[in-house]
């Protein structure tokens, strides 16, 4: 069966979403057209507003509507303490922990030479600039523990060589509620190497 041109275009447009094939795209399009025109209108307005208005923060590269994002504008946060993460989702995860009062630098990816992603593609030239002009005092590397994440962390560590910036890497170990038997060997090895003394309570 052939769809009306406008319907077909809507279906095609939905397939740009991750995990959405022609079949689910068709279901979504029909659902909006048949039962939820109002929702559909809201979606289209929100989409075009976001696509127009959302930019990257000039300082941390996270999504922002102004030149700086709310975190970079917040004067109560320590702007010289920078946590480096791979994606906006990572920022959210760290914010949820409630432990961190500095700002972020979002790479929007990681070094992956095989895919042609080099230092410049993840904004490391901008980070280097920030390190050089002295606005950064401490860096926390929170890239993933994959080979690419490690390479990225090392590259950034190299970059700070010869500056007074102190660099740390987030710890790796046994997850909360995790039973040792089911933790993989590499994580366990890391956890053992990074073990901490239990203080005597006085």
């Amino acid at each position: 069966m052939k769809h009306a041109p406008l319907v077909q275009e809507l279906i095609d447009a939905f397939t740009c979403l991750p995990g959405v094939g022609p079949r689910s795209a068709q279901r979504m399009a029909y659902w909006l057209l048949e039962r939820n025109r109002e929702g559909g209108n809201r979606l289209s307005e929100a989409l075009s507003a976001a696509m127009e208005g959302v930019k990257h923060c000039e300082q941390c590269r996270n999504f922002a509507e102004e030149t700086l994002c709310p975190v970079c504008l917040d004067t109560r946060r320590d702007q010289a303490l920078v946590c480096i993460v791979e994606s906006p989702a990572d920022v959210l995860a760290i914010e949820m922990s409630g432990e961190f009062r500095g700002r972020y630098f979002v790479l929007m990816g990681h070094l992956s030479p095989i895919d042609g992603i080099g230092p410049r593609d993840i904004g490391l030239d901008a980070l280097e600039q920030q390190v050089k002009n002295g606005s950064v005092q401490e860096i926390i590397l929170a890239t993933s523990t994959t080979v690419e994440g490690e390479a990225t962390a090392h590259y950034i560590f190299d970059m700070t060589h010869g500056t007074s910036v102190s660099v740390s890497r987030i710890a790796q170990g046994v997850p909360m509620g995790g039973e040792l038997e089911f933790v993989d060997g590499v994580t366990l090895a890391h956890a053992l190497r990074g073990r901490q003394k239990v203080p005597h309570s006085s």
Binding site: P18, G19, P113, G116, T145, V147, D158, M159, D184, A189
Partner: protein, 227 residues
């Protein structure tokens, strides 16, 4: 449906996301060469990382095989810093040079030896990379002699040479490679001049097979040298 399941030792060369939580993984194996596998739910599997010896079970007949399960055969190689860049470089070169399902017997031992030798901090990494590149070209049938030119005449220490791809060295007044240094390289006498020559020579030798896009891992080393 008769799909045979088989198992072998493998090393991950490259992984890229596929659908929600799956991966397309390129692995290097001894008997089957480079393979491309679908790993369902592979993004949650911490084992499917480069530089870690694996034992994999696969099934399927076509170009794209399915990874049934994977086990760690040994702990991951502790490549860190510059050694990690070297490892990424080796993987990138292999991804460009190897065709799928084209096994080369001596390639896996060469790969494993080179990575293992890269792990100590004091390893002469450029020498290991040059040896790897030279033997890789040899294994793939693109090798050339360092002691004889393309006509079979011995290399003359007082002459300059240039490299013709798939043919070998040739005397050329404006050639960039010095005969004496080429002979030192053939003797594995790794003095600074020879190391530089080896790097340029291998770059020239690999260029025709790497394709037009520059190798991104070379950019990482540029960062190291900047210090």
């Amino acid at each position: 449906m008769a799909t045979s399941e088989l198992s072998c030792a493998a090393w991950v060369l490259h992984r890229r996301p596929y659908r929600n939580s799956s991966l397309l993984v390129d692995v290097l194996t001894e008997s089957l060469g480079r393979l491309c596998l679908v790993a369902r739910g592979g993004r949650r599997d911490p084992l499917l990382q480069p530089f870690r010896p694996l034992h994999i079970h696969i099934k399927g007949n076509g170009d794209l095989k399915t990874l049934v399960r994977s086990e760690a055969a040994a702990p991951a190689l502790p490549l860190a810093g510059e050694a990690l860049y070297c490892g990424l470089y080796i993987n990138e070169v292999l991804m460009r040079l190897l065709h799928r399902d084209d096994p080369q017997d001596s390639l896996l031992p060469l790969y494993v030896d080179t990575l293992t030798n890269l792990t100590p901090a004091e390893a002469a990494k450029d020498v290991l990379l040059r040896n790897f590149e030279f033997r890789l070209l040899d294994i793939l049938g693109y090798g050339f002699s360092l002691e004889h030119d393309r006509h079979g005449a011995p290399i003359n220490p007082s002459m300059q040479y240039r490299l013709l791809s798939e043919q070998g060295l040739e005397v050329h007044p404006k050639g960039e490679f010095n005969g004496a240094l080429l002979l030192s390289l053939a003797q594995s006498d790794w003095q600074p001049d020879v190391r530089r020559l080896a790097r340029d020579l291998m770059r020239r030798a690999l260029a025709p097979y790497l394709g037009a896009k520059p190798l991104a891992s070379r950019e990482l080393f540029r960062g190291v040298r900047r210090e």
